[in-house]
């Protein structure tokens, strides 16, 4: 008789037209980190929403501490000691950590006045006990994303959670914050908390979890002990076929300089200098990966190249012509394509059909319009062609971009950008939030563009990605390129140190 804190047995959940979960079993032992692995759309979130009481299952049984329960809403889940930290935080920006945590469960002092002092003290104690080091009096808008996440974790603990569901907790964190989060998770389980970790990042699972349940296309594939498996097995369980992690590519064959940046200075919106005298060259037929921790000027660099932000000084040349401080449209027309880092916010008009999204920069050109009148026939013909060539899975070109999966949205953006045959392709975080199958596809696409003789500038916070895909790595720290290294001549350790600001000599010693 194992002592399971939570058991979900033969869960089935249907939505009109689809079975989101079928025949899924998940048994959580006390004090373990249990990973829930699956591709985007495999049904992970549905399953967790069933456990959290947001959905009612059609079939199956949920047991908490061995007793069958019916979880009708999140309040019931809370009372049973189940807490969930959503991928998108549920915090009031203008409130302090403590105010956020007690929201909805305010401790009442004399005369029904909220006893914030008492709450702050309790929260500080909790924070210390689990090694979270959160300041209860800090305002949410003033603290980092990592800290906000800890405030969310504290919120569930404050409400007496013994089972913690973490939904893609590392998606928003920097490598350093991920390391800290892993430490926190370990200290939580040592205090008897059990954790369900929803993720599609295999390395994290190998690093922290005890066991892992895999679901694929809504069905349970099985549960494995993490120390008896490896990344390859997990990946093939998740995707249903073999996945290669080492992106296959031939030696780069760089030619002439396409992009040449000299002594570039760029300010951010608060007038702080974020890019400080940056020099960078990207040649035709090579992929240059910019590695760096978020906030070291990467966004400002890309915005300056693409004309979205004015630079203060310095030059940006494309094929020998100055393009600094041209309008975005002029930059686009001169041969720059840009896969933006936030596809929902910057890459797509979600309420436009896929076809109209595929002409977002070219709608005013022939054949998509003629004397300012749009030619929908040509727009749709073009879309059908791209959908076929780039394998975008969509019911039709009329489908709104909003209804596509993340991977297919990204494929649509890449199709649009690459199809313009740009000289320079800028890819910012092109695989963020995508599952391994989609990541593989996108990496192959970038390499294909390189092989066609295009210059590719890849900006990513994922070291794996930079290491696997780039032909040359430019490490960015505090607004400058501090080192240029070859991926085969470096390792994650050295890159990590360079990204944190050590010099090449020092980093090399380690």
């Amino acid at each position: 008789m194992d002592n399971y804190v939570v058991e979900m047995l033969n869960i089935r959940k249907e939505f009109p037209g689809i079975v989101a979960n079928d025949n899924i079993n998940l048994q959580l032992k006390k004090g373990e980190i249990h990973a829930l692995l699956g591709e985007n759309g495999a049904g992970k979130s549905t399953l967790m929403n069933v456990l959290f009481g947001l959905y009612q299952p059609e079939k199956g049984e949920i047991r908490v501490n061995g007793k069958p329960v019916t979880i009708t809403d999140p309040n019931v889940a809370n009372r049973l000691g189940i807490g969930m930290v959503h991928q998108h935080f549920m915090l009031v920006e203008k409130f302090t950590v403590a105010q956020n945590i007690i929201l909805g469960a305010e401790p009442k002092g004399k005369g029904r006045v909220v006893d914030l002092k008492k709450a702050e003290k309790e929260i500080a104690e909790l924070s210390e006990r689990y090694g979270l080091s959160v300041d209860p009096k800090a305002k949410i808008s003033d603290i980092s994303v990592g800290m906000q996440q800890r405030a969310e974790i504290l919120k569930t603990l404050y409400r007496g959670a013994e089972v913690l569901i973490l939904d893609e907790p590392t998606a928003v964190l920097t490598p350093q914050e991920i390391k800290e989060l892993i430490g926190i998770m370990k200290s939580l389980i040592s205090e008897g908390i059990s954790i369900i970790l929803i993720t599609h990042k295999l390395k994290e699972i190998m690093e922290v979890s005890d066991r892992c349940t895999v679901i694929r296309k809504g069905e349970g594939v099985g549960t494995v002990n993490v120390n008896e498996t490896d990344v390859d097995e997990l990946a093939s369980m998740m995707v249903g076929r073999q996945i290669s992690f080492k992106t296959e590519k031939t030696e780069a064959n760089p030619k002439e300089n396409i992009l040449s940046i000299k002594d570039l200075h760029v300010q951010d919106i608060r007038k702080a200098m974020m890019v400080k005298g940056l020099n960078l060259d990207v040649r035709a037929g090579e992929i240059v990966g910019v590695a760096g921790i978020d906030g070291n000027g990467q966004s400002e660099l890309i915005e300056a190249i693409t004309g979205l932000r004015k630079s203060e000084s310095g030059s940006i040349q494309l094929n020998g012509k100055n393009i600094e401080n041209l309008s975005t449209r002029k930059v686009t027309e001169s041969g720059v394509a840009h896969i933006p880092q936030d596809r929902h916010k910057f890459g797509l008009v979600l309420d436009y059909p896929i076809a109209e999204n595929m002409v977002l920069q070219t709608y005013y050109q022939k054949p998509f319009s003629n004397s300012k009148v749009l030619s929908f026939k040509n727009i749709y013909d073009h879309a059908n062609q791209l959908i076929e060539d780039y394998d975008v899975r969509t019911p039709s070109p009329q489908t709104k971009a909003r209804s596509l999966s993340g991977g297919n949205q990204q494929k649509a953006i890449i199709a649009r950008e690459v199809d313009r045959s740009p000289d320079l392709l800028i890819a910012a975080q092109p695989t963020r939030g995508l599952d391994v199958g989609a990541i593989e596809n996108i990496h192959k696409r970038l390499i294909k563009e390189r092989d066609k003789g295009r210059a590719v500038l890849l900006v990513s916070f994922e070291l794996d990605e930079v290491m696997n895909v780039s032909d040359r790595i430019a490490v960015m720290f505090d607004g400058e390129i501090v080192a240029n290294v070859k991926p085969e001549e470096t390792n994650e350790q050295e890159l990590g140190l360079l990204m944190a600001g050590s010099t090449k000599e020092k980093a090399g010693e380690n």
């Binding site: 008009v349 436009y352 749009l374």
Partner: protein
């Protein structure tokens, strides 16, 4: 399952029905017969040629202010300023109609154009402030409404006053009225403006759905960030959307000046044409055809309700409540949409 299109049509129809139902309950509660009341409303709106003409006449400016607000809405802007744009359009059209004496084929279109320019100019200010300084258009347009109201009153009193509170009459060559229409609708004040409104609706549909301008405006309305990343000028589009929206509202003013009244009066307060236009646009789901249909409903309610006190004996205060409730339900079609979706979900 309904198709999306069908659903978009059903929700406003259901809202209208619900509004009438609650209006009926209120009449019953106060001891009046809803059947008599609604019969009077119907006859007062469509009972004979005269009333039908009046309903159409009332719908014309509402359709145009509806188009104005819908157009701005599709571009992501809330044009509360249609009210003020109506005033300046009205004044400009009347001024042009009084001052110049030209052949009708030139005078009439030019008068309408002048009104459109005046309305566009009035909307340009909030557009410019929004685009360059990020000032919210709702604040500026509300202030522009008051400026329009008082400035137009002053100009009428100082330069155009004929007698009492009315300006000189416009020259015949600028008038939208015609003997033929008046006779056909048994002496109603109906004028050729309904053709202007239909052309306006067509222009809005064409610009938004068929041209590159509309493609940009809608893209900016849905997601200004993505539009900027794709190389569109968000500022230019904000200003352009306000200019066109202001133009429609200015023409709505011209309909009053060149059609219904043939002059302009000083106003003690707002005409409400611009504000009712918000409800018209909402009910019409911010589409061109929808705004025209919604304007017909509002025109019918406004004209038809005048017959309820004398014919059915329902006191005019109660009539106003009933009409307000119908408009309330109509305008809250968003809530009803939500409720219906919720209901459908539960069924599953």
């Amino acid at each position: 399952m309904f198709s999306n299109r069908k659903f978009n049509l059903l929700v406003p129809l259901f809202s209208i029905l619900l509004g009438f139902l609650v209006g009926a309950i209120i009449m019953v509660v106060f001891g009046y017969s809803p059947i008599d009341g609604y019969t009077a409303l119907w006859n007062g709106a469509f009972g004979n040629a005269y009333y039908t003409g009046e309903t159409l006449r009332q719908s014309i400016p509402l359709a145009l202010t509806g188009l104005s607000i819908a157009f701005a809405f599709r571009s992501g802007l809330f044009n509360i300023g249609a009210e003020g744009q109506v005033f300046v359009g009205w004044l400009a059209a009347v001024w042009f109609g009084i001052t110049f004496d030209l052949p009708a084929v030139i005078h009439l279109p030019l008068s309408i154009l002048v009104a459109a320019l005046a309305g566009a100019l009035w909307a340009f200010v909030p557009g410019l402030l929004k685009a360059t300084r990020g000032v919210h258009e709702v604040v500026v347009t509300i202030m522009m409404n008051y400026i329009a109201l008082h400035v137009s009153n002053h100009i009428i009193r100082a330069y155009l006053l004929e007698s009492g509170s009315r300006t000189y009459r416009i020259n015949e060559s600028a008038s939208l009225r015609s003997e033929f229409l008046t006779d056909f609708f048994s002496g109603s004040q109906i004028h050729w403006g309904f053709i202007v409104a239909i052309i306006g609706a067509f222009i809005m549909w064409f610009i938004l759905e068929k041209t590159t301008y509309g493609y940009e405006l809608r893209a900016v309305g849905f997601n200004p960030h993505a539009a900027r990343y794709a190389g569109m000028s968000v500022k230019k589009n904000i200003i352009m959307a306000m200019l066109i929206a202001g133009g429609f509202a200015g023409i709505a003013g011209a309909m009053e000046g060149l059609g219904t009244f043939g002059a302009m009066h000083t106003h003690a307060g707002f005409s409400n044409l611009g504000f009712d236009g918000i409800a018209v646009a909402l009910l019409g789901a911010n589409t061109a055809i929808g705004s025209v249909l919604a304007a017909l409903l509002f025109g019918a309610l406004k004209v038809g309700s005048l017959s309820m006190p004398p014919v059915a004996g329902v006191p005019s205060e109660l009539v106003e409540i009933v009409i307000a409730i119908i408009i309330f339900f109509v305008a809250s079609s968003y809530i009803i949409r939500w409720a219906v979706l919720r209901f459908k979900k539960e069924e599953k």
